[in-house]
Amino acid sequence: MACAAMSWKGPGLALLLTGLSVLPWLFTLPGLADVWTPSAWRLLLSSGLLALGVAAAALAAGVVLAGVLLLGRRGRLAVLLGVLLGAGFLLSPVVALSAWKAYGLDRVFSPWASSVLVLAGHYCPLALAVTLLGLSSLERSAVESGLIAASPFAVARFIVAPQMFRLWALAGFVLFWAAFSETETPSLLRYPVYGEEILARLSIDDSPARAAGLAWMPALLTLLAAPFLWRWAKPVLGQRRMGGMALGMDIQASLRQWGNRLLAVLTGLFALPLLALCAKSGANGFWGGLPSVGQSLGLGSLSALAATAAGHLVNEGLARSPSGLRPLVLAAFAVQAILPAALLGLGMAELGRWPLLEGFSRGDGWLVVTHALRVLPWLVLLLAGLRAQSGVDNEESSRLMPLSWLARQRFLVMPRLWPALLCAFALGLGLSLSELATTILVVAPGTETAVLRLYNLIHYGDWASVAALALLLAAAGLGVCALAWGLLWRRYAQA
């Protein structure tokens, strides 16, 4: 009955949130002409190659890390690896790049390879989280019966991989566009990217119309490819899962040993950037950076929380919508993920002039809303995949029990979805903390966020303060994620 009552609310909610998120972008639509030049195509290709490399490398790293974590002993070393990965993700890739340069690796690798490795290192925690969450929802009985008759590798190849393949494809799509929109890291490594051209156009032209047109170009191309992408993604989003834990599978002793060794090696490898930061950091940077880190963390947490809630609501709406609406809504969010952040910032600056929003847009709340809108597309796409994998929408109990929407959230959805929502929150927080382009355009006068301070210090070349600020930001961000984990774990997992 409850589900029947929600039948019109679901699509309505999904469409409303999609429409609201699209609104700021509409200001950038005029000016699509005169952008289809050979140099634009070349840069599109160059950025595409980079994004392809990053998506493939991040996914491969995520799968290897997941394998190692499953094979190895899940002790302190695994926790340390998780902390290192989380810290890396919460920092802007530019900080990882400074560590990369400190080790002289930019001289060893080509600009493309350096950009791919730095960005893949940044995004692989996302691939790892998706893989682990996907694995945790596999059918345990199939994996266990497979392990009786075959080796773990055969089980991984013939039972696990086919079930995970399309989820990885979806994660690869998200990673591709995240890497495609990266501007600073590749350009600092002298690799030409599309985003740099858009910024250059924005800087030179009197009106942002030409740059906006340039920005819509890949979005339009993606829309053309949308039917094919949908064919790939649809099985993931329509999967039926019984649910269960495959993580407790019995591993052979020899494999366990290999797992432990690999775990130690990978932990050492991912510790290198943080070690470089520790070696460089100066005490002044810690104290000077405290206020900006505090502000960033507060605003970033609110943005991530708001975007996670909105992303969850969009997916809740989609779960109760006709199947034809789903590709439309997901395509709208995919396009927003592709468009550069500077355009959202300009759109929000225009929107802030509306009389109704004028007062609110002068405060920090406007930055929270802008960051939430910036990260929302990623969170909607991620939650769509993880929700389908969790099988929460196919619970028989939800059909049989007449629960209110809130009660359903509390007793059925949250106990199943909290790891996915936590993963989305961490992704939102990481993206918010390193969001630069929209911050400059909407930040309230007098508010200093860590990313602004970080880039100013990088420009000045005060590396001791940069390193200290980065460490502080990573520690504080991890603290927030750990707190969220602790609260959700105590409430849902232990219960």
Binding site: L199, L202, I204, G363, D364, L441, P445, H459
Partner: protein, 322 residues
Amino acid sequence: MTIRFYRLAFIFLFAFSGLSAAAQKPEVVVYTSVDQVYAEPVFRGFEAQTGIAVKAVYDVEASKTVGLEKRLLAERQNPRADVFWNSEYLRTLRLAQQQALAPYVSPQAGRIPAEAKDSLGYWTGFGARQRVFVVNTQLLQPEDYPQRLADLAAPRWKGRGAVAKPVSGTSSTHFAALYARWGAAKFSDFLNALLANQVAFLPGNAAVRDAVAAGDYAFGLTDTDDVQAALGRGDKVAMVFPDQDSDGAFSIPFTVALVAGGPNPEQGKKLMDYLLGLEVEQALIQAGALHGPALKSWRYLQPDLPEALQSSARLIQEALSR
């Protein structure tokens, strides 16, 4: 459950309203592209002297100067800033042309030469940074240092020089001024010569400085304050003012302007007066943000510079995409 939900919603609303609440004391809002490390002490000095709180928005090089200029234009109908303090002048000229600025002739402007301020009072320039070579002292001996801008295109320096991609910041102002001065044909020849000489086009002046300090390039074209910062942190670099036997180095003054329709015009005027004072200029020279007027230099502050930027940028884009 419902009560808890509403309690949570109330806490959120409270947090948001707290974040948005503005302090009720005299304040001035300034947008500045001057590096935060230099601008912040100046604002603290103004606050101590006047009791007016300064709320600043800083730009960063990574945003390619897109941030503040576009923000001021987007906010033109409903401005939030009172003062725009720019680390160069081209974007100030452009904002003045688009009616985003208001005229104000500060009493402090009397000491500033006529060519460094707008005749109608829409902006006032002060101090100067120069476009200079940063040279790696471990790769080059003083007698070998490049001495002219044309050295970037000299065969002797093939593959050893770097410049910031001249589409943003002071490098775009410099190249626009070269275009305005030389005309399209000579400017194109210069660009082609740079490309033929394998000059690296890096994402910003700081990137040029860091690449030269790291030994990736023997020398590069950047701003005086970038080199001062490198010298301050002990990098093995030297600063060379080019063309001292001809026109001198290209010079870029800071500009300060009152934003049209800003919410606190009186406080904005006070801040402008303070910024244009000799003490601030001297403090900025001492900090390394500005350079003293000791060496030979030239500048181009004509109103046709914004058009020159468009034309030069088109040629640059064409050349770089070849």
